[in-house]
C-alpha cells in the first residue's frame, strides 16, 4: 500500500482543478453537508429538470482532497440521472470503498477512490458529497456523515 494508491493522479488532478466548483444561479435544490468529526463542510447546488433529472451540479466548501475529488467526479457522473439512479450508484460506491467489490464500470472515474478500502478512517470524506447530494434531492437542507459512518 502506498500513498499514490489513494492519492492517484486522477484524485490529485480533480482536487487541484475541481469541476463544477462554485454556485448555480439557476439552482432548484441545495444542501449543506458536514463531517462533524473533522470539521469539513460542503455545499451542493443542483438544477433539476421537470423529469427529476440532475441537469447541473455545483459544489463549494473547505474540504480535503478526498472529499473534493469525490464531489468533482460525482458531479460529472450524475448529470442526467434521477434520484433513484443516484441512490443505486451511491450503494455501489459504498460497496466499492468498503472493499466489497472490485472496480465497478458504472462508477466510471469514481473508481479512482477504490483504495479507500484500506482507509476506513477516511471513507467518510468520500461519503460526505453523496450524503449531501441525497439530502439536496430529498429537499433536506442539511446532511451529516455520522448517519452513514
Amino acid at each position: 500500500m502506498s500513498a499514490s494508491d489513494l492519492y492517484r493522479d486522477l484524485v490529485l488532478e480533480h482536487n487541484r482543478s475541481p469541476r463544477g466548483f462554485g454556485s448555480l444561479p439557476t439552482r432548484t435544490h441545495a444542501a449543506e453537508g458536514d463531517n462533524p468529526l473533522c470539521g469539513d463542510h460542503l455545499r451542493i447546488e443542483l438544477a433539476v429538470d421537470a423529469a427529476g433529472r440532475v441537469r447541473d451540479f455545483a459544489f463549494s466548501g473547505q474540504s480535503c482532497a478526498i472529499t473534493t475529488a469525490t464531489a468533482s467526479l460525482l458531479g460529472e457522473r450524475v448529470r442526467g440521472l434521477d434520484a433513484a439512479a443516484i441512490a443505486e450508484l451511491e450503494a455501489r460506491f459504498a460497496r466499492l470503498v468498503r472493499g466489497e467489490c472490485a472496480a465497478d464500470p458504472a462508477l466510471d472515474g469514481l473508481n479512482a477512490l477504490a483504495e479507500l478500502r484500506a482507509y476506513p478512517a477516511r471513507r467518510k470524506c468520500a461519503l460526505l458529497p453523496w450524503a449531501t447530494l441525497a439530502a439536496a434531492l430529498r429537499g433536506t437542507p442539511h446532511a451529516t456523515t455520522e448517519a452513514n459512518a
Binding site: A3, L12, N15, C38, G39, S63, C64, A65
Partner: protein, 415 residues
C-alpha cells in the same frame, strides 16, 4: 528525591530513553515510526507495562475490602500511587488526590459536585477560548441546569490568553473559573500562577486542566495557587483510564459525592448513609487498580528522568523543529506564544489537514489532524482543522528532519 529537587544535570540522552519504550521500535508502512502524536496519548515505557502486568500476575485483589495478604498488597500498591502522584504535583496532602478515569471525569466531578449545587441563575463560569471540549461541555451542562452562563476570555492571534481581559471578566457573578495549563492545540503555557492570584483576590475558585502540562514540565499545584487541578494518566505515559483530580481539602470536604456505591461509605442503612472521608468519598466502586499502579510506575519513570530535564530537552527540540519548519514554503503555524510547549499545529497552503496526516502516515510519521476537540479555537482561526505534531522527550532531531522532509514531499504531491 523529587523532580523539583534535582540539580540541573547532564542533558537527556534520547536514545537511552527510546530503548525503554518498546513500541517506538516498530515501523509503519515499511518506515521506522516517528510518533508525533503525544498530545493525543503517550507511548508506554516497559516499566509501566511491567508494573501493570506484574500487578495482575502477582498481587491482584480488590482494594480496601479484603484482609487477606493479596488484598493488603493491592491496597498498598494502589495507595502508594496516590503518594507518588501527590508528590509529583506538589499536593500538600495525599488525601487531596482523587483518582478518576482521566481529566474528563475529573472536570465533570467538579462540575457536578462543586459547581452544580452552588450555581444560581445569573451566575457565570469563566473559561478561555483555547479550552479543550472537556473544559467547556461539562460547564455548559451545569449551566443549562442552573441558569448560569458560560463565558470565554479571548486570546490573541499568537495563541496567548489576553490576561487583562480574563481578569476584567472576573466579575462578581463569576463563581468558578477554568483554564488549560498547556493548550493541546497551540502549546501555549498559560500564566496559571498569575491567573490564580487574580481569582483568589476575588474569592473565585480556579480549576486548571493540566492534561498537557504533567507529561512535559514540573507541576507544583501549591505554588500555582489554584483550587482544582485535573490530569490524565495516559498522556503521562501511564495506562489509559487513569487520571486524577487534585482539589483543596476544604473543597473536597464541601462537595457531595458524585457516584454512590461501595468503597465510598462509612456506614450504610436505609435510614441514611455516612460517607467516607475524601478522597475515598469520590472513588465509588472498584477503581482501575492495575491502571493506577501503572500510573505510579509512570511517575517513578518520569521522576527518574527528571521533569526539569525533560522540559529543557523538549524546549530545545521545539526550537530545532521551529527552525526546520520555517524552511517549508507555505507553512502556517497556529500558536506562537512566547512560552510554548512542543506542540505544533500547522497547515500547508493548498493542503487539507487530513490529506497531510494520511500522507505523512505513509512516510511513517504519525501526526493528528482535525479540530483537536477545540471547535471554538478552530473558529477563532477560521479553519476547519489543523494538522498537529506534538513531541515528547523520546523524540529526536533526526525524527524532526524526517518529518520535515516528508512534509516537503507531501507538499509537492498536493500542489
Amino acid at each position: 528525591m523529587t523532580a523539583r529537587a534535582l540539580p540541573i544535570e547532564a542533558p537527556l540522552d534520547p536514545q537511552r530513553i527510546r530503548a525503554d519504550f518498546p513500541l517506538l521500535a516498530r515501523s509503519v508502512h515499511g518506515k521506522p515510526l516517528v510518533y508525533f502524536d503525544n498530545a493525543n496519548t503517550g507511548q508506554k515505557p516497559a516499566a509501566v507495562i511491567e508494573a501493570t502486568s506484574t500487578f495482575y500476575r502477582e498481587h491482584n485483589a480488590n482494594v480496601s475490602r479484603a484482609v487477606h495478604q493479596l488484598g493488603e498488597e493491592a491496597t498498598a500498591a494502589y495507595e502508594a500511587a496516590r503518594d507518588k502522584l501527590a508528590r509529583f504535583i506538589g499536593a500538600p496532602s495525599r488525601d487531596e488526590i482523587v483518582f478518576t478515569s482521566g481529566t474528563t471525569q475529573a472536570i465533570n466531578l467538579v462540575a457536578y459536585s462543586f459547581a452544580l449545587p452552588r450555581l444560581e441563575p445569573g451566575d457565570a463560569i469563566l473559561v478561555t477560548q483555547m479550552e479543550h471540549h472537556a473544559n467547556i461541555v461539562p460547564w455548559q451542562l451545569v449551566c443549562a441546569r442552573t441558569g448560569a452562563k458560560l463565558k470565554a476570555a479571548p486570546i490573541a492571534e499568537s495563541g496567548e490568553l489576553i490576561v487583562e481581559k480574563f481578569v476584567e471578566m472576573l466579575t462578581p457573578e463569576v463563581k468558578l473559573a477554568g483554564v488549560v495549563h498547556v493548550s493541546n492545540v497551540l502549546g501555549t503555557v498559560n500564566p496559571v500562577a498569575e491567573l490564580a492570584r487574580e481569582c483568589r483576590r476575588r474569592g473565585i475558585p480556579l480549576l486548571v486542566d493540566g492534561s498537557q502540562a504533567c507529561p512535559h514540565m514540573p507541576v507544583d499545584v501549591a505554588a500555582l495557587g489554584c483550587d482544582f487541578y485535573a490530569l490524565t494518566g495516559h498522556k503521562m505515559f501511564g495506562p489509559t483510564g487513569t487520571g486524577a483530580l487534585w482539589a483543596r481539602r476544604e473543597h473536597l470536604e464541601s462537595m457531595p459525592p458524585f457516584f454512590g456505591g461501595g468503597e465510598m461509605i462509612r456506614r450504610v442503612s436505609f435510614e441514611g448513609t455516612t460517607f467516607a472521608d475524601p478522597p475515598h468519598k469520590f472513588e465509588a466502586g472498584t477503581p482501575n487498580i492495575a491502571g493506577v499502579v501503572g500510573l505510579g510506575a509512570a511517575i517513578d519513570y518520569l521522576e527518574g528522568v527528571g521533569m526539569r530535564r525533560i522540559a529543557a530537552y523538549e524546549r530545545e527540540l521545539l526550537a530545532y523543529a521551529d527552525a526546520a519548519l520555517a524552511r517549508v514554503e507555505g507553512l502556517r503555524v497556529f500558536g506562537t506564544a512566547a512560552r510554548k510547549a512542543a506542540v505544533i499545529s500547522f497547515l500547508v497552503e493548498g493542503a487539507h489537514a487530513h490529506d497531510l496526516a494520511t500522507l505523512l502516515d505513509h512516510e511513517g510519521v504519525a501526526v493528528r489532524s482535525g479540530h483537536h476537540c477545540a471547535h471554538p479555537l478552530m473558529q477563532f482561526y477560521g479553519v476547519p482543522a489543523t494538522a498537529r505534531a506534538s513531541l515528547a522527550f523520546y523524540n529526536t532531531r533526526e525524527e524532526v528532519d524526517r518529518f520535515v522532509e516528508a512534509l516537503q514531499r507531501v507538499r509537492k504531491l498536493l500542489r
